[in-house]
Amino acid sequence: MTDETAVLSPSAVGPHRPAAEGGGRGRPGQVWRSRRYRWDLRFSPYAFVAPFFLFFAAFGLFPLLYTGWAALHQVELTDPDSMTWVGLRNFTRLWDDEFFWNALRNTFTIGLLSTVPQLAIALGLAHLLNYKLRGSAFFRVALLTPYATSVAAATLVFVLLFGRDYGMVNWVLSTVGFGAVDWQNGTFASQLAVSTIVIWRWTGYNALIYLAAMQAVPGELYESAALDGASRWQQFRHVTVPSLRPTIFFTCVVSTIGATQLFGEPLLFNGGSGATGGSDHQFQTLGLYLYEQGWVNLHLGRASAIAWAMFLILLLIAGAARLLRGRKDSR
């Protein structure tokens, strides 16, 4: 926050000012000109950033506030204009809503199942790509291709792979001697399958971020570590990973947000029945539950309350992360 204001404040461009004012004193035309120049310096940065904030106000802030307002009402999609004030009832009922807690639990476990392996694999891949190797550009592009695939396309293919009767995963499992798994119906199995799609799509993206950060690590650190007799693995552990700490934190934050909003994969993984997340709601995430309440059951007020609950949960996680990090830095 403080960095941003420093950049935006006119004092940051101060050094130019005396030069503009210096020559123009006394002559009216030049006074006007220099005044315009001063205004330009002071105000045009705001104009440059204005489009974003206009868009944000229209498509970010307004929906956010309106959702909050709707969450305090009983609103039905069949008649969105008539809102009945119910106060915090939509929120308090979430406490007794086993479907909400189930969705929260699923979001958390699927988030863990996908984020942890994803980041670990990404770090490993980035480390391998950081070696001098032939055709590195090819591998980097190849890493990014899953990320460029649409969620829908990827998920539909994974649904086929994880099919119970004719899926390839089960075919492989049964040829190596394990029994076939009902990927859609098992609680853990289905969550693992959904996580796999997330991992497949996002690992390459994170790997490239790590790779970029790795290439910024000074070579001298590795040289001196090598001189001290550190093996590749030791270099990775004691030079690479510590240097990457801010990047790792960044990817953790982004992945957490992504995991909280997880929607497309579980929606499409559930073939026919849409937002239920399996017959036992076994992989219904918060995003799916929100969608089910709002767009299947048509209760906009309840859906808005879930949306705000998700937002508050993210704030809580962010607060916790900040506390953790603050403690680490002060140590």
Partner: protein, 445 residues
């Protein structure tokens, strides 16, 4: 001088940027769905442009009906917007009706949503029952009743029926033969005529001969949909009260369908998933209750290899699954012209054409006498006289009481309750309770 030039350039940039942003905002604020309407005043050459909003491959355009109407009415141009899935289409239709903008002149509505439309949106829709060229007597009475609002809501007929989904039982002749069951469609129909329990008995007989691992039906929820589709009262009573919990017809259908799962007669598939499609191709099950619109789907999925193996017989009881309506919002610019078009599109002659080209079964019983329907045979299903079979089913379907939340109740009964029994091996009682819990949560505002 240089400084001045830079100032001017900067100002120009600022003005351009802000202007562009404002333009973009304005552009986005206007609903894209309104676009076709923009030129509606005169479709280029003094024509009236009518827009039709549908979901999926609705068939009206594909059957050439728009072209025919435009040829007959040179002053009219018809444009269609389509959204693939009804679950995305319907919420959008509701928001557009709520705001009175972004609507097409004619909108399609799925049968499971029609009660909610007549109950909550009737005042925003044109009374098509009074539109010129609409003949109530041409329609099946139960279909007409579904598109009509209750007397308390004004009693207007706001939805004109397009197609319906009378059901038969599609079965595999080769698998029936191997299990020692009759293969002739009349004999097969006679196996279970009049009683869904006989269908279960036939399944047990099939399994006894065919052995383990051979499923009689694709899914238990398919059976449940067919059984509930054959009873007059389902989830709501005539007063509009939710009664599915205590209605013996619903609980009975649930238990009967659950028996298919617990007796091992079901292939434990979920309909409209890739696994189900593969089941058709691999012959994983011997029968499936099939509405008229499903025959084309089966032909697609079972492929050329299934030709002459599939046939269709009369279902135990007349039953309906699916179908659609056309509505005309009052907010449209050309409501009068649109009503005329809707009446024409749903007239018996056009419904017969839609059946001939697309296999959507007419909801206008007057069409059943037309040769395109009465003489229709399906080559893939062994030349079965589908016009005759489905017309017989359609005319026997009771006047069903439909309620605003039929879709939500049916969906949770199938995808939560029955699926838990079928795929997770839960007891019917546990499945029923899970479904009730989910429905209670969904209906609670």
């Amino acid at each position: 001088m240089r400084a001045q030039a830079r100032v001017r350039r900067n100002l120009v940039t600022v003005v351009t940027a802000v202007g562009a942003a404002a333009l973009l905002l304005a552009g986005c604020a206007q609903d894209p769905a309104e676009k076709p309407d923009a030129g509606a005043q005169d479709g280029g050459k003094g024509k009236t442009t009518l827009t039709v909003g549908v979901f999926g491959a609705f068939g009206l355009k594909e059957a050439g009906l728009y072209d025919e109407y435009m040829a007959q009415n040179p002053g009219i141009r018809i444009e269609q917007t389509s959204i693939e899935r009804n679950e995305n289409y319907y919420p959008q239709l509701l928001t557009h009706l709520g705001t009175g903008s972004g609507l097409a002149d004619i909108q399609a509505v799925e049968v499971n949503n029609i009660a909610e439309i007549t109950a909550t949106q009737a005042d925003k829709l044109v009374d098509l029952g009074k539109a010129p060229g609409v003949d109530k007597a041409a329609y099946l009475p139960w279909k007409w009743a579904q598109g009509t609002a209750s007397a308390a809501k004004g009693g207007a007929t706001v939805g004109l029926g397009t197609d319906i989904g009378p059901q038969g039982i599609c079965y595999r002749k080769d698998l029936f033969e191997a299990a020692g069951l009759p293969t002739d469609r009349a004999a097969v129909g006679a196996l279970w005529a009049g009683d869904w329990n006989k269908y279960l008995e036939a399944g047990r007989a099939y399994k006894a001969k065919a052995g383990d691992g051979k499923a009689f039906v694709d899914s238990a929820s398919g059976v449940m949909a067919a059984v509930t589709g054959s009873s007059a009262q389902r989830f709501y009573d005539e007063q509009g009260k939710v009664v599915y919990k205590t209605n013996p017809a619903v609980h009975g259908a649930f238990d009967l369908a659950a028996s298919f799962a617990t007796d091992g007669l079901s292939a434990k598939l979920q309909q409209f998933t890739p696994g189900w499609d593969q089941g058709f191709a691999n012959g994983s099950f011997a029968t499936v209750s099939c509405p008229a619109w499903m025959l084309g789907y089966i032909q697609d999925k079972a492929g050329p290899a299934g030709k002459d193996k599939w046939d269709v017989a009369q279902a135990p009881k007349p039953s309906n699954w699916g179908g659609s309506f056309l509505i005309v919002p009052k907010a449209g610019k050309h409501a009068e012209e649109a009503a005329k078009l809707a009446a024409w599109l749903t007239a018996p002659a056009q419904q017969a054409k839609l059946f001939e080209k697309r296999g959507s079964f007419p909801s206008a019983s007057a069409a059943y006498k037309l040769p395109a329907v009465s003489g229709a045979q399906h080559a893939y299903f062994g030349g079965a006289p589908i016009g005759e079979i489905f017309a017989k089913a359609a005319e026997g379907v009771p006047v069903t009481v439909v309620g605003p939340k039929d879709l939500v109740i049916a969906q949770n009964l199938a995808d939560i309750g029955m699926l838990q029994v079928d795929q997770k091996g839960r007891s019917p009682q546990e499945g029923w309770e899970a479904a009730v819990k989910a429905i209670d949560n969904a209906l609670d505002q």
